[in-house]
Symmetry: C4
Subunit: 485 residues, 4 copies
């Protein structure tokens, strides 16, 4: 029978040498786990001797406790009379700010474009979460250039052609898609919405576009599969490959069995990017909650002029997530090994130059995604649309040998059309789905797709393109100087 | 005999299922018309059970009621003792702001250039009207580039030539014009001035330049014709072609019979542009008047997180105006059909690339207008002056085969001179005439033309050009880098 | 014997039909002169019936009254007992502001560069004067580009060469100059300092550089000649040629007789530029003094919506000054005529393109000044340093056939060095001498020249150039892209 | 026996004709030295009759007094009872500001990058010191371009290569270095920290990188040598060569004997740059302390409109330091002479163009540093990374003939990697070490190096470079247009 524990009992174990926490009214002794916490020991110690339910639920799905803690970690349950107090947890100033913003957000029918949704999302999530989502590497040059580069590509619109009927649908990797876009992989969807990535699955199903699910999604692969609108709705599986081939193979086979239709191997994350905005967010929180927690533990934070890097998490969220990943993947070994493990088509996500696009074609993969990880990995990687343009100019043959997708900063129908004119088969959007989920849930995602559909059809008509195959390279002109004004 | 109705009676019919409105002291039952209102049902429902005279008169000319409502729509007249109350309509805060600004506007003799007038106009019209006039598509890149592109073209001024005598007059499509400019087509002139486009007709007549009148002008074609200063004053007719050829032919023949001298077919509006500034203006008004009206009808506007696009007008003003237009015009069918319908010279308005300029020459039309609809249609269409420059560089022969006009962002004599040096026969200005009409009426339009005349003569002299034919391509140099500083 | 008049008598003549004014205690009837006043009738009517001494003295030298008014214009003198009241003229708010700024200006030894002096000058003169000095044409693109263009030219500094001894002196048109710069022509020097351009003469003489004096200088040619430090100090004469050859010839011969050493014919002012900053300044003053004067005359200024250009001076200060100038000068007639009138070397001021530089060389003149009149004439004329660079690239032979000078935006020793590397013999500075004179008088001008000397020597050494002839085209590199950052 | 003097006695000698000062409780008569003070007589007169210990200690090391003053300059010692008062010296507002900022600076473990440290340093030193450190010549164009130029160079990152093991170490001039960077020479380290440059020596020793020590370091060569972590830690000696060869030779031989491993001759400082930010700093101080001192001496500072340059120090800090240096060094004489004086390898610091890099290779020196002295000497010298890129493109052979280093604006690992890809053997950083020393002392310098190590390894991995020799020119692309957005 399970032991009954009081909050007072728990509060006696609030140091690194004996650390208990409360999660969903159960008490766990996490002392031995503290040094192994992926997000750094500090994050967990902040809740030592206290209720960690809220922080836990923000990023974890239910299975994590069983998977990560030892069987004997469960100390007991809160006494019944104390449980009610959990519901009256004090709200932080940040919580109050968010609640107030949620009440004041504009109705969904006043949202005109994707940036409108982004600005709502920025207000209704914590500053720390938004820093994690929206930030890029170091000075965020590639992050910014991904967006700004579009303004160098102008259209050459034609007139006096029939465009009353205009069809933006296409075939992607053999699957029909109502639009030439797909929902790209993003991590930790619970930070956006309690239903996490399953909201994306449902919205994509309803409107007929493909979703790519991340290894780091909050929703498990099986949750996503069972959230489909119908059984033929295509989902793709994005893989961060672990160094341990056995672990990786198990994950891949699990996805294939569940019914995922393609395997997207991320190749641009052999090291985690230096995302300073994300790193800096931990110092913000120190000013209020964390600092309080640390002080309670009798430690001083006054260590200035001392070199003590271990005290700070310099990996950030992404560093924690990528721990244990394979930094020795190669063209020669990894691709053939993948082929031996799965029958799913293979797509390489994170190609950043023409040379590697050619190597990909030679390696026999089925597709590539020109991507710099949304400006979150290699700082000063070229913007995706520029790499796509270089590939079109230097090696147009590659577009015949595999399907080329692209992501990075796409927010407008015109931007998608520019990529399609240059030869992309489809365009991935990541952050916009996180923002929509955070701001308006599943309906926000539906709205996001509808906005893109409306923009795509309007601008195809104005270009005099009545279907996707009418979009040709000669309809786009790269004009440096115009972009500068 | 017509029935007498009280305001109280009218106010009992204020829902979509029974909607009466008062216009010019008459009561109409518009219930069956509500769903067909071009500007969206919401706009009309806002006045359900109330006096709509002011809003109606802002955009409609007198004939509209007869043309659009059924015979039995007229319910009756206001009782005489209630009519006086119409004159004491409450003024909104916006009305008061405008009145105050009108009193404080600078005297016309302190206006130095066209931008001065624009800034007056911005103050003396409603925010909604100014958003409709001044806005462009989406992020307004083409709108901005139309203007900024001029700064890439510098002059090569010559010295020591006779320029005491300097003549800026020219011949456009066979008609003498005192200046190498014309007033281009603009919509809904009543938003600017009660006399709408007839003010433009008179001012153009007085100063000897051509006016092109829009299908969507508030003043009817016959009103414009009868406003001419003398019977040989040339007017051009701009056509938005309806899908129904019969309707279109009737309109064209009517214009020709009235005495219009050219037919300008708009070819860049097969779909209406995504003009977000215009769309967003409806949300501003919701914050005050419209919201109030909606609430009175017992509906809640709290629909956040619900997908309900039908509730919002996503077409905007332009979408409403272009409804029913022909989206299947072609080079092969439309041009010959036009020739069969009219003897007026044909000009294509909205050519956006060299290829279509060549097709136009081959199609045998009399002129083209290089135009992107003032940045209001295809976002990221190239700025007009750049397309003109490309045509000059790549296909100078086109200038021999038809007359080339250009519009888009012209505000200065120097900008007009740059286009003329590159081969344009004349330059169209649209918004400046709206702004002048709104700010100072007919005298404002006269002033606008005089300002341009003064700038043109000053700068022709400083270039050492004593007549229009002295303006040559070698007098303009495109220097990218200078524009960037 | 001269009549005695009271202030009361004068105040009875304050309309356009009978206009008396007081200047230096004398009363003049200027009724017949009012319509011919170069600055517009309004300016003079503002002082109708009042004392105009202060306004008169600001811009006029003593001889003007005799030259312009008829003999019988002198009505009489102020009664002695009323004269003292002239000294107690009320100070305007602007006067008080200027006085206060003059007290607070930094000591001259804290001035480090020419822009420091400019910012002092901006504070210690009236806003109207500063607008006249500092403004350019229309949107002031060429004005700004003159300065910004320098930042496209970088140096290629050499090392390990002897530069302990470094000599910045040179020979200009046969005259020794201690520095490769000269004081260029500027108008209305009395606005800067009571001693006007004679301060420039003295400072240039002391430090050994050439002064070019303007036709529109406040100091007369003979005043300047007699202000020289020694009789061999070279002065140049700048000519605005009148349409009447006889008048022009008299002026030229007078200058030659007085001892001027060169004739600089301005060729870029066949029409006066559209200087809106200058024009707008008259509206500022209307808000206080002028408006008051107009109202006293019983006229209303409420003429909005009326076209009444005659009411406003659209020529501005420059238009007034250039009235009557020759707008029909030609290469074929004007240059030979000049040669027939004078033996002074001839320099053309205002060459703006390579073609005209070549024509100048063929016409046999002795020098040209590449200049766009400081951005005050043709808007969008290329910046001077760019025209110089084009001449160097396209027609280096011209530098052998005549001396090439340049002006326009030069404020730094580095900028002067860039022009010298590209082949200029000397660089003219205009506004800096006005600013220095206004801010600190003759000492300010001396300081200006010393600052340039110090910058020139420092940077010649850092370039490893020990004399002017060491400055070569290969020491300057035009790098567009750097200038953009 | 030494005389006892009271503070009252000292205060009687507070004019230029009899000037006593107190330093470390001793009284000196510096009357004859005042006109020779390298920083200008004003600085020293400010302390006439007062205690100058604090100001003295800020910039001077202990040996200066003996070296510069005559033996009889020592007047006596403070009476014992007055010494204690020295400790109670009043703090200026600036001192108080700095103390407050020091207390509030962030703990070192919250520092993420080098700019973070710079912004701390800006707060915790005097404004005058920061102006001296951070400023450049004139308008600081080259200073700014040094940094901005990096943003024109993008990476071409590769994927699917083994990078688990990643080694950023290299060999520089035969010495192993843990990172491809070195600490460059900087002056007056005592302004940053009491232990001055010895902190840099220790930190570099601990982390295995080379330090180059300046002729103008506050720490003497022997202090630095004895601060090494171990006897084989390599130090380089930077030389400002005096005009007197004998003096220079003595200095070089002294360094060689002490154990310095290379001689870095500065060649870009034949004249001192016109550093206006540094010059202007003296006027700031006049507003408080200095002015007060001057006034006490009975002099008025009201000299406006007077030319009195001698009153102001127009050389600035750098001018004072460079006095007496050799401005007649040549390729032909100076390099062979250096070879005759020392066996140390010779490096030329301050090469600014391809031509001089070639001359250096021909002269047989061992290395060059492409440098413009951090934008502090020749204004409009090209940014270092651009000169490096030109050398790579035009004369790749030079990289085979000597080692090429580069400095100027480097703050990020990515910037260092760009230079290495282009062929640089190592990158020098100067100001960052000053800033780190001022903000956090030796630990700050250690942190600085660790930050760079972390950035270098992260970005080498993301580039797929596992060692320094994997960095190739084809991994960097210069893309002008991207930098402009």
């Amino acid at each position: 029978m399970i032991k009954t524990v009081t909050r007072k009992d728990v509060s006696d174990h609030r140091t690194a040498s004996s650390c208990w926490i409360i999660i969903q009214n159960r008490i766990y002794d996490v002392t031995s786990f503290v040094p192994h916490h992926p997000g750094g020991s500090k994050l967990i110690l902040n809740y030592a001797g206290r209720d960690a339910t809220k922080a836990f639920e923000e990023v974890h799905t239910g299975l994590v406790l069983e998977e990560t803690l030892q069987a004997d970690a469960l100390v007991g349950e809160l006494a019944v009379e104390e449980i009610s107090r959990a519901g009256t947890a004090e709200q932080s100033i940040e919580d109050l700010r968010i609640e107030s913003e949620r009440r004041r957000k504009p109705p969904l029918n006043q949202i005109l474009n994707l940036r409108d949704i982004e600005s709502v999302a920025e207000k209704v999530v914590s500053r720390k979460t938004f820093a994690f989502w929206s930030g890029g590497s170091e000075d965020e040059i590639t992050l910014q250039q991904n967006s700004k580069a579009f303004s160098r590509f102008f259209f050459v619109p034609r007139v006096l052609r029939r465009i009353q009927h205009c069809d933006p649908s296409t075939i992607i990797l053999g699957y029909h898609s109502s639009l030439p876009i797909y929902a790209s992989a993003t991590s930790l969807g619970k930070l956006a919405h309690p239903k996490a990535e399953t909201n994306v699955t449902r919205a994509c199903g309803k409107l007929g576009i493909i979703q790519m699910s991340s290894t780091h999604a909050s929703s498990s692969p099986s949750e996503l599969i069972s959230s489909r609108i119908h059984s033929s709705q295509p989902l793709w599986f994005q893989l961060y490959k672990k160094a341990d081939n056995q672990v990786a193979a198990t994950l891949i086979r699990h996805a294939e069995t569940l019914g995922f239709k393609a395997l997207c191997l991320t190749v641009d994350a052999a090291s985690h990017g230096n995302r300073e905005r994300d790193l800096r967010a931990q110092f913000i929180s120190e000013d209020d909650e964390v600092r309080k927690g640390v002080e309670e533990m009798g430690e001083s934070s006054a260590k200035e002029d001392m070199i003590d890097d271990e005290d700070v998490n310099l990996d950030g969220t992404s560093g924690a997530l990528l721990k244990g990943d394979d930094a020795d993947m190669t063209w020669e070994e990894t691709i053939p090994w993948l082929r031996s493990v799965t029958k799913m088509p293979i797509i390489l996500k994170g190609i950043q130059c023409v040379e590697d696009a050619v190597l990909a074609a030679e390696s026999g993969v089925d597709g590539i995604i020109i991507s710099n990880h949304g400006g979150r990995q290699m700082e000063y990687s070229l913007p995706s649309i520029e790499v796509l343009n270089l590939l079109r100019k230097q090696r147009p043959d590659v577009f015949q040998r595999l399907e080329v997708y692209v992501d990075g900063g796409f927010r407008r129908g015109t931007e998608v059309l520019k990529a399609l004119c240059l030869g992309a088969k489809a365009v991935g959007l990541g952050r916009p789905f996180l923002y929509a989920n955070a701001a308006y849930g599943e309906n926000g995602i539906v709205k996001t797709i509808r906005i893109l559909e409306r923009e795509l059809i309007t601008d195809m008509r104005l270009l005099s393109a009545s279907c996707i195959s009418d979009l040709r390279p000669e309809m786009v002109e790269r004009v440096d100087v115009l972009a500068q004004l």
